[in-house]
Subunit: 134 residues, 4 copies
C-alpha cells in the first residue's frame, strides 16, 4: 500500500487567537491519518487494541510547519509507512490544503507495539502482513 | 465545606480565532474545579476512581457565558456542591477574572456515581460524609 | 429547513481514561453541527464572520448525556433551529450512534449576533431569511 | 537565564483511553513552558503579541516520549533557549514527574518572529536583550 489520503475540515475549536490552526492539532490529525491508513489496510485500530491487546504507543513526533491552515478549510492528510518491523512502525505524513494543494505540514511519528501492560510486544506475524510490514 | 477556589491561567491553546477562550474549555475548567473541591475535602478523585472503582459520570452540563476570558488571564473557578446524596452530586460553579472579579461564566453539572461497569452505584457511606454530602 | 445531519468519527484524542468520549467534546461537535446547518442553508459561517463581521457568540450551553460515545464510532449530529430573530438564535441538537441509533446526548445552545467589537448587532435582513429565521 | 521550571497538573481531559496523557498535550504544555520562560525574563508574551505586534510562529516541533504521564500527576516543564537570534528562537524542554523526577518527554521547538501579517520580522534590539538572546 502506497499511501492513504483522509480529509478533515478545520474546526473552530482548532483555531487560536492568531486566526490559524493551533499547532498541536496537526498532531491530532496525524492520528486520524494513521487510523485511516490502518482501515484501508483492512485493520481497524480499535480492534487491534481491544481484541488483540496491542497498543500503538507514540515514542517520537517530528513536525515541520510550512503554511498555516485556517478555519473551515479542508485538509488532506496523506499517510504512509516509512519503516516497520514486528516491534515498531514509523509513519510519514503530508498535510495539504485540499482546495489548492498548498503544503501545510510534513511530519513523522514513531511507535512501538505494546501490550496492555505497556511493555513492548512483538506484533503477531499475521497482523504484520496485513498492512504490508516487512 | 462552603466552596473552594482554584486558579487557572488561560492557555494559548484555549483561545480561538475570535481572540477569546473557546467556550468548550470552560467545561474543562469546571472539571478542575471539581477535582480541587474533592481534594480540599480530603478526597483525591484519582483514588476514588482507581482504588474504590467509583466513577463520577457527567449526566448534565449547563453553562451561561457572561463575559469572555482572554489569553494569559488568570481565572478563578469557585466550586460548591448544590445538592448531593449517595447516588448523585450536583456542583455549582462561578468563573471570574482573578484580577478584576469580572464574572465570566456560571454553571452547574450533575453527576451520578457509577462502578467500573458504568452501572449506577451508591457511594459508600464513609465517603459521602468526607465531603459533607447529606 | 427542518434539521441537518452531520457525521463525525470519534478521535482517539477525544477519549479519556474512562474509555469513553470526554464530555466537553460534545460541545465541540455541536459547533460542527451548527456550521453544517449554516452550510446547508447556503451560508458559510466563515464568510459571515470574515466578510460580514458577524460573530455568533455563545451565551448558553445545556447538554444532557444519555449514553457514552466510544472511540472510532461514527456519531450523527442532528441540528435544528429552535428559535431565532435578528438578535439571537437558539439551536437544538441530538447526537446518536450512527450505527445503532442509540441516543448519546441532547442539547441546546443560545447565541447572540455580535460585531467585531463583541457588541450585540442585528443580523442584516437578507441574511436572516437565508436560513429561514423568523 | 539558564532555564525556568513550571508545574502543570494533568487534567482528566488530557488523558485518553490508554489511561495516560494523550501525546498531543505535551505540545500544549511546552507552550506553557515557553510563556513562563518569557515571564521569568520580564516579557509577557501576550504583550509582545498585542502591543509589539510580534508573533512567535512555530515552524518545527520535535518530541521524544520516554514515559507516560498519568491523571492528576504534577508535571515539571523545564524550558530553556537552545539558540536564538533576531529572527528565530529555538527552545528545549524536559518534562518530568514532579513527585519522582521520572523523565516523561524531551523536546525542541523552533519559532520565527513574524508581524501581524505573518511575514517574518526581526525582533527589536531592546527586546532581544531582555531575554538574553545573543
Amino acid at each position: 500500500m502506497e499511501s492513504t489520503s483522509t480529509l478533515v475540515r478545520v474546526r473552530y475549536a482548532e483555531t487560536d487567537q492568531m486566526g490559524v490552526v493551533y499547532h498541536a492539532n496537526y498532531i491530532v490529525w496525524m492520528e486520524i491519518g494513521r487510523v485511516e491508513y490502518f482501515r484501508a489496510a483492512g485493520v481497524r485500530y480499535r480492534d487491534l487494541e481491544r481484541d488483540e491487546g496491542i497498543l500503538l504507543v507514540v515514542v517520537e513526533v517530528h513536525c515541520r510547519y510550512h503554511s498555516a491552515a485556517r478555519y473551515d478549510e479542508e485538509v488532506t492528510i496523506r499517510t504512509w509507512v516509512e519503516e516497520s518491523n514486528s516491534r515498531m512502525i514509523r509513519f510519514g505524513y503530508e498535510m495539504t490544503d485540499a482546495a489548492t494543494g498548498r503544503r501545510l505540514a510534513t511530519a513523522e511519528t514513531k511507535h512501538i507495539f505494546c501490550g496492555r501492560d505497556y511493555k513492548p510486544k512483538k506484533l503477531p506475524r499475521g497482523l504484520g502482513s496485513l498492512f504490508e510490514m516487512r
